[in-house]
């Protein structure tokens, strides 16, 4: 390489590093690398293979949920009922299993139920012409009540060898839940970037009116996005029940907030029309790494939501520079 070319590449690199839109596009990657460096220096155990494996395992559920949230946000919507749907899926799984239907039927019914919740959200939003926010907020409350009614407020033990193996078994370097998350990332990435549905999804989110003027059935696209979100909630509920061994009528609100946070960190525009799958997945990893690192540094758990909140707002500020 000649001196001139080297200089040019150096100046284009510094131009890239000075360009705020570069940081906005890669916020989740930059954040993850930054956290890994900081935590790795402060607490070397953080970088141990065992801890990294535990971290990935803990991130799997959030990665799957963030993918579902990404599809909805890409249509300029938001799914506030995501964590409630996870609870509903878990309860249905527990009850169907307890009724003696077998674990596979229980898993299938759980995923069907959460997908139906997503479908219903989509139909109410498009056919009922009600804002996404209102419908999914209503669904959040409605599903919470439904979960409590179905379960009587009591947790159900799920003692299934299949779920136990799903939670604790591993293939190669990763546990099965991590592979589930990886598979979800790949399938979602292909759907978003390599299918007509993906393009129509972004068109619907970008400018719904133009998209429908060009013949795209934007209502159907939106319903599909919410159904995918519900499906992801179902998969997450299987991973959750497998992880804790019982179905609890409790909503983990941090799952909902973190799924939106991961989407924002991943560079997905909350106004729709711009999305990636890798970004939110890495955003979910980053949020999990944050909690994991703070725990290793013996920081009180009370500070963790504060740290997550600060990082999300910071990411949103950087996003303003996205081109």
């Amino acid at each position: 390489m000649t001196a001139g070319a080297a200089e040019e590449s150096r100046s284009s690199l510094s131009a890239l590093l000075l360009d705020p839109s570069f940081w906005a596009d890669w916020a989740s990657v930059v954040g993850l690398v930054g956290l890994v460096i900081v935590f790795g220096i402060a607490q070397p155990v953080f970088l141990s293979v065992a801890n990294l494996q535990a971290l990935l395992l803990a991130a799997a559920i959030l990665v799957v949920l963030s993918i579902g949230q990404t599809f909805v946000v890409a249509t300029s919507g938001i799914d506030l009922s995501l964590a409630a749907a996870v609870m509903l899926g878990a309860i249905i799984l527990g009850l169907v299993n307890a009724a003696g239907w077998g674990i596979f039927a229980a898993c299938v019914l759980a995923v069907l139920a959460t997908s139906a919740v997503g479908f219903l959200n989509g139909v109410l939003i498009t056919a009922g012409k009600i804002p996404d926010f209102v419908v999914t907020l209503g669904a959040l409350s409605g599903i919470t009540g439904l979960g409590l009614i179905l379960s009587g407020g009591e947790p159900t033990m799920v003692g299934s060898t299949f779920l136990l193996r799903l939670a604790s078994g591993s293939f190669g370097p990763f546990g099965y839940p991590v592979w589930v998350a990886i598979a979800a990332v790949i399938v979602a990435h292909v759907a978003l970037y390599h299918t007509r549905f993906g393009v129509h999804l972004l068109a619907t989110g970008g400018q719904a009116e133009s998209a429908s003027a060009l013949g795209i059935r934007t209502g159907r696209v939106k319903i599909a996005a919410y159904t995918i979100s519900g499906f992801c909630a179902g998969i997450a509920s299987l991973l959750l029940v497998a992880r804790i061994g019982s179905a609890e009528p409790l909503i983990n609100t941090s799952l909902l907030l973190n799924s939106v946070a991961a989407v924002v960190l991943g560079g997905v525009s909350l106004f729709g029309g711009r999305a990636s799958i890798l970004g939110p997945a890495i955003g979910a990893l980053m949020l999990t790494a944050l909690v994991n690192g703070l725990t290793l540094l013996s920081v009180s758990a009370f500070y963790q939501p504060l740290a997550v909140g600060a990082i999300v707002v910071l990411a949103a500020l950087i996003m303003r520079y996205q081109k």
């Binding site: 292909v190 970037y193 390599h194 299918t195 007509r196 393009v199 129509h200 133009s210 060009l214 029309g273």
Partner: protein, 254 residues
């Protein structure tokens, strides 16, 4: 002057006769006869509220007319929605609804008619083929854009309009309908879009052009139809009229 009447000739690609449309008690237009000849640029002019845009929307299936008959390629009652019109070969360039900002030039050109490869039960986008064909479509109409992978948001108004016209023409449309294609453009960009419309005609595509700009209409079109207060007031050959005559026809001073 009395309303224009005619029987649609075989050289008409799109025609209507006795067409009326009202919204509740408000009359958009009444008893309108119109035809666009094959291979020509046909202009529709008129003051604001004369009924031009509503007439066009009825012709391309957005609105259903209340009375009268529409003929496309000699066939009566051709379509009941814009999708059918599109399938029959009519593409409409909407004023503000033509492109998706966040998608690339190539994605916009192939939106809702993406090229896919079948792999087993799955249909995956053939992005390479779409990029190549997008470049070919743009160069056929001599449209300059930096790259087909550029997001449309970053392009100028003239480039965007050129791409939406290219999109309309690129589907093998027989007729391209444009509502005020240069309304928001600067002088040079207007010139580029006008050149583009001429190239379309040279390639045998029929064009219907709705415009406020009388000079532009005389420069570009073969036949001019004048609407006034919900009626078709007159039709003239562009080569046989003057700007003053058009002003008089539009305002009703003639």
């Amino acid at each position: 002057m009395s309303a224009v009447h005619h029987t649609p000739s075989t050289e008409a690609i799109l025609a209507c006769d006795g067409l009326s449309k009202h919204f509740g008690g408000i009359r958009a237009f009444t008893d309108v006869a119109f035809q666009a000849r094959r291979g020509e640029v046909t202009a529709v002019i008129g003051d604001n509220g004369a009924g031009k845009s509503t007439l066009i929307r009825c012709l391309v299936g957005v609105h259903a007319p209340d009375g009268g008959e529409i003929f496309f390629d000699g066939r009566p009652h051709p379509f009941s929605n814009p999708d059918e019109a599109r399938k029959a070969g009519i593409e409409t360039v909407h004023q503000n609804l033509a492109l998706i900002d966040e998608l690339t030039v190539a994605q916009n050109l192939f939106l809702n008619r993406e090229i896919v490869r079948r792999i087993g039960p799955f249909a995956l986008l053939d992005r390479k083929a779409m990029k190549t064909q997008a470049r070919a479509m743009l160069s056929r109409l001599s449209i300059n854009v930096p790259s087909v992978t550029q997001r449309v948001r970053r392009l100028s108004g003239g480039q965007r309009q050129a791409i939406s016209i290219c999109r309309a023409a690129g589907s093998g449309a027989k007729l391209v309908v444009m509502d005020e294609p240069t309304a928001a453009l600067g002088v040079q960009e207007t010139g580029n879009v006008e050149a583009l419309i001429r190239r379309l005609r040279e390639q045998g595509v029929s064009v219907i052009l709705v415009s406020h700009n009388f000079d532009q209409v005389r420069r570009l079109s073969d036949q001019i139809w004048v609407m006034r207060a919900g009626r078709m007031a007159a039709t003239v050959r562009a080569s046989e009229t003057t700007g003053n005559e058009l002003v008089a026809l539009v305002t009703g001073a003639a």
